[in-house]
Amino acid sequence: MQAALFYIFAALALVCGFLVVANPFSRNPVTSAMCLVLTLVWLAGLFVLLEAFFLGAVQILIYAGAVMVLFLFVIMLLDLRAEERRRLKRLGLVGGGLVAAALAVLLRGVIHEAAPAAAAPPAVEGTTEALGRLLFTRYLLPFEAVSVLLLVAMVGVVLLSKKELK
């Protein structure tokens, strides 16, 4: 059961990820964004399979919800229809393919080298309670730093979106 779900989620995530990057049917950024939402949902499924329940929920709430709504909002604000027609350059295509292939070979080597233990240890459930406990004890300082970071980002966005950018 778990193996079947893993293969379904992984295959769907990879297919949707491919459609984000290179959709053969449409160059519209909106389509890319929709496929990215689907990818994130399948990744949330994988998180649940890994017993990271809180992160699965956060993935859907924050990524598929908030972040992607922001993306769609900006896409529709900018009205990018005129840019669909441009062609990919062949040099870029070859170069990008080469770079990705090289990285894939590199990662394959790394994964092979890190031979994992045969048996998985008993699962540690990533429930809200367990993560919260960790977050407010051992990771308290990073937690506060991240809150300051969010404040800085908020102020920066307000400044950047002012009418006259000096």
Binding site: A3, L55, A123
Partner: protein, 101 residues
């Protein structure tokens, strides 16, 4: 047979490569940004898988921070793209050659 760590790592690596292809190939700033998100999520998957198979929650806390930072990054980046579009009327990387010598 239940999937092991290497299964998840392979999926994560493939997703990361897809994101990299998108960043290198696509010419639309917004799609490049989405590919970046894809790469971040691939890294998140690797972290969660490692956390599960090592048997402690540190990796998941790390993913929590990554998600938070990514949200901040998206907000700032999209604001930059909107500001750029207002000034230059384009979101296409080939039109942004001011720094080229």
């Amino acid at each position: 047979m239940n999937p092991g760590l290497e299964h998840y790592l392979v999926v994560s690596a493939l997703l990361f490569c897809l994101g990299l292809v998108g960043v290198v190939l696509r010419r639309n700033l917004l799609v490049i940004y989405m590919s970046l998100e894809l790469m971040l999520n691939a890294a998140n998957l690797a972290l969660v898988a490692a956390s599960r198979f090592v048997g402690n929650l540190d990796g998941q806390v790390m993913v929590f921070f990554v998600v938070t930072v990514a949200a901040a990054e998206v907000a700032v980046g999209l604001a930059l793209i909107v500001a750029l579009y207002r000034r230059r009327q384009t979101a296409h990387v080939e039109d942004l050659t001011t720094l080229r010598l």
